[in-house]
Amino acid sequence: MADRAEYARKGIARGRSLVVLQYADGIVFVGENPSRALHKFSEIYDRIGFAAAGKYNEYENLRIGGVRYADLRGYTYDRDDVTARGLANVYAQTLGTIFSSAAEKPYEVELVVAEVGSEAEGDQIYRLPHDGSIVDEHGSVAVGGNAEQISTFLDQEHRDGMTLAEALKLAVQALSRDTNGSEREIPAERLEVAVLDRTRPQQRKFKRIIGRQLSRLLAADDAASAKTDVPSDEEEDE
């Protein structure tokens, strides 16, 4: 068992870390990702987002399984009956069964399932390590290679009610820290950013932040951040 855990942990550590933070209007996902096609963050359902670190083909499979689970559930019952808690549970059972089954190799993935509530108190973030456990997280969470160090940093720096620009900058700062404590620059085009924005009028709250909107948020100084915080609809298709 220890060998299997070691195997999975090593696989996950090879991948780059990503962070998920709560901010005033929702939840923001930030990660370093040189690829524009292979996403680390995705929409699962109206209020539910998915983030994954580790082996792409394995988490992609789990992501599609999650979309199928959520869509089938919403079609059978109602859109309101699809919850992050239910999805996290199914993921945990799936990862746990695979981890303890001698016939299958353990998945080298660590997942985050997040749901944005209508108020900040209703936000939920679940972290799902490779062995099928569930960790209920508050405020901020990091997964992937350098996760432990980044989490410690975020725990110190993150506070409730940050604006999107503040949370984004904190996330980038956290991701830029190397294992040896020095900082390196991550250019905007290597960042993958998405939000679950509770103020979005659409039923589906997930939205990617790309291009000009991303650079504007990264450039915004704290005084102006309140203004740029609410992305207007015209910016959506950039």
């Binding site: 096609a37 996403h39 995705s42 929409e43 699962i44 499979n61 789990l62 599609i64 399984g65 999650g66 979309v67 199928r68 689970y69 869509d71 089938l72 919403g74 079609y75 059978t76 549970n89 199914v90 993921y91 059972q93 799936t94 746990g96 069964t97 695979i98 089954s101 016939a103 589906r204 609809d233």
Partner: protein, 281 residues
Amino acid sequence: MEANTRSTGRLPAAFLTPGSSSFMDFLTDHSPAMLPGNRPLPVVQGAIQAPHGTTIVAASFPGGVVLAGDRRATMGNMIAQRDIEKVFPADEYSAVGIAGTAGLAVEMVKLFQLELEHFEKVEGTTLSLEGKANRLSTMIRGNLGMAMQGLAVVPLFAGYDVDRGRGRIFSYDVTGGRSEELGYAATGSGSIFAKGSMKKLFRSDLTEQETTTLVVQALYDAADDDSATGGPDVARRIYPIVTVITDEGFRRLSDAESSELARSIIERRLEQPDGPRAPLL
């Protein structure tokens, strides 16, 4: 592993099998009984009584397309519902209006919306407008057995083609046959009158505002001559549902907007009951 799926609560194998991005294909594999077309049909004598939706109209204008429907559902000679909604957004850039058996049509729309959303989430990109229109064809064809028992569903599909930069309209027949309509189209019991009305009023250079007026005029004319189509109900404040799709996406006119539109038409019809006159030559 498959056998103990339920007891462990893990995702069943079908959920993790790579393959189609279609939700309907997934249902076919995983729980075929949930697909509308897969239900066994009982043998019945005569027609089945169920609420029917009536008239849907659509017209394009430079930069977009308008899709609208009246609010009546009938069952035989009865009015089954006065305020039924028959025009739905299919996704951000398209909408579907339904005529025919209301219960089956609403289920079809729900599955169609989900099919488009599912594809978008799995693939990370949307289907082309043609692709969406073809998907709807398949679904109508799946209902052919029901249609032959008198429970047909005949929708009208309209959307903004982002690649071509214009609004497009697709009409269907009961067998799933699909044809693109240039300018304007209508379906349902009042469609003959609505088409006649639009034939005389439609021009290809109308503005968005004028096009919404055009479709409400057409629905008024349909209600005027077809007993199954409902006109604007001023007493109960029930007005047609009018939706506009442009490069900014789907928008449904608010109750205030559609009531103002319908009232301005009623106002003019008090003077001229047959509506605006087209020149003879």
